[in-house]
Symmetry: C2
């Protein structure tokens, strides 16, 4: 706002100055506490308590190939339209803790405690935010993994490569498990990022003695938690429908990455999508369903707390965030 | 989602069941902590630290005259479009604590501690959320009031009618002060709600010995905090531009009530608007300015944390919330 405009808005009522800066206090009293609130948030789905426990957010420069089929100008235009800074991205991470049917269930783990140091505290916040939320990680009964990327499975291990959830059964999508643990698939994978994904999964799951329970689509993997095939992002990528009574929420995992780009432009392919055309078909099918059914959606890479509804907007969609409830 | 649709989404990969419900734990281990996170949120405006400290949210049935110039069906359609429940409203309250220029400044107070008991904890959360944020109310140097409604001034007093900010200078809009403390204006005010507003202000300010500092529009009332005339909601209703370096945010106070109704439909008059036509003119002027300048806005009655940008949408506007920052 320019000064002239400020003055215009301020109107004509500017007469003599009043002693507005009187204060009895030394400025030393005004030292500000600098901590951010712990980023967890609770809501109910019928009888089920959902706790979104943020693992933080990563900020990095926009790479030219971040969107495979849109150029830098197009991506910057989308960021600008969403009032986000250009030429950079901030991607948050939202694991979920469910209290359902007497079980404590975690969906996806964040990147793990080692990421906290590496990112100077930006990522790897799951442990601290869980503690603030009163979630005891030793009492988690089940960890349900949506797919095998490091920001979803890395937290299965502590910083010194021990099991982070010593008393939990680890459930993984059967198709994902078969693909990423197959030596032939690994040998045929392109060098670079894909080889790294294979190696990271072997590192994580070998440290767990490969002691996992593969699960199948179309079945409840925990009370009220239906596993749904939403492949394309990875070969075994899984979403979930969480239901209790008449209430439900669609837990999309990575059907889209950041909504500012990929909900608004469902035809855009994020470089992390392993099978881009299949991922796009899945995305359009899921989002058309979310619109038609007015179904709430929880997005792992949506801004915290990451729950909202979807409306159609031109050739894409947009997220209408749920109104924050200060009392559950 | 219908079962047929669920199965379709789930795909064909449904073979033999696996033992998915194995767990080593008794369900007694899974007792859920039920507390919501404390609703405070921090962000920087240049060198200034802003802490939004929620006072909670009130939920009440939709009254036929809540919007003076829209009927129940129209209001319900707007609520439905925003994915909110019909026939009820939830209105949040967002006081702000600023650490600016060595001063700790509070803008508006919430309804006060007495409201906590009366609302069974839904409202009057400012004290608890301040404590969680590490804000010491005895060290607040200045309280800046935007206008004289109970949800903005009620918290000036404790539950037993003592000053809640014993060491703070209380700054009030000069025009608002003159209007509401004028015995002639009070005698001419309509019975019912308007009489109650006059009486509530006398109750609050008499308990403070009427010891306030009236402030004027067009001047900084605290370091970086410019008071701006935005009348209509009340005769002395004030907004603020908070600036530091190249960064700024427009603190709108009650230029709109809930954005789902009044940002989307700026021509609608909430029953709380004392001079509805003037309030509407102010609202349109402010929102056109927010769009033209791409200026961030902080809304007292926006869903927590209540900060976003504004875009034009048809004949109205919509809020694009700022992406939550887990680290400040």
């Amino acid at each position: 706002m320019e000064l002239s405009r400020r003055q215009a808005l301020a109107g004509a009522a500017m007469t003599a100055a009043l002693p507005l800066f009187q204060s009895n206090h030394a400025s030393a009293d005004a030292v500000a506490p600098q901590h951010q609130v712990a980023s967890y948030y609770r809501y109910k789905v019928g009888d089920i308590l959902v706790t979104v426990v943020s693992d933080g957010a990563a900020t990095f420069p926009l790479a030219d190939n971040f969107v495979l089929n849109a150029n830098r100008d197009q991506v910057n235009a989308a960021l600008d339209k969403a009032f986000r800074p250009k030429d950079q991205l901030t991607i948050p991470f939202g694991p979920l803790v469910l209290n359902t049917g007497g079980k404590t269930v975690l969906i996806d783990t964040g990147s793990g405690a080692a990421a906290f140091t590496k990112s100077k505290g930006a990522v790897g916040q799951f442990g601290a935010n869980s503690a603030a939320a009163g979630v005891d990680l030793s009492k988690i009964d089940m960890v349900v993994i949506s797919h095998f990327h490091g920001d979803h499975v890395g937290g299965l291990l502590t910083a010194d490569n021990k099991p982070a959830f010593p008393n939990a059964e680890i459930l993984v999508p059967e198709v994902e498990w078969k693909f990423f643990m197959d030596d032939g698939e690994m040998s045929r994978a392109p060098a670079g990022r894909m080889q790294a994904v294979f190696k990271e999964n072997r590192r994580v799951f070998d440290a767990l003695g490969r002691k996992v329970t593969p699960y199948q689509w179309g079945k409840d993997v925990a009370p009220g938690l239906l596993a749904v095939e939403t492949i394309g992002h990875t070969p075994g990528h899984t979403s979930f429908v969480l239901s209790s009574g008449n209430d439900k929420v669609f837990i999309q995992s990575d059907v889209t990455n950041t909504p500012d780009l990929f909900v608004r432009n469902p035809g855009w392919h994020v470089s992390y999508d392993q099978i881009p055309d299949v991922a796009e078909a899945t995305r359009r099918k899921v989002y058309d369903m979310l619109v038609a059914e007015r179904l709430k959606v929880q997005g792992y890479h949506y801004p915290f707390p990451g729950v909202g509804n979807i409306e159609k907007d031109g050739s894409g969609y947009r997220v209408v965030p749920v109104a924050w409830n200060p009392s559950i």
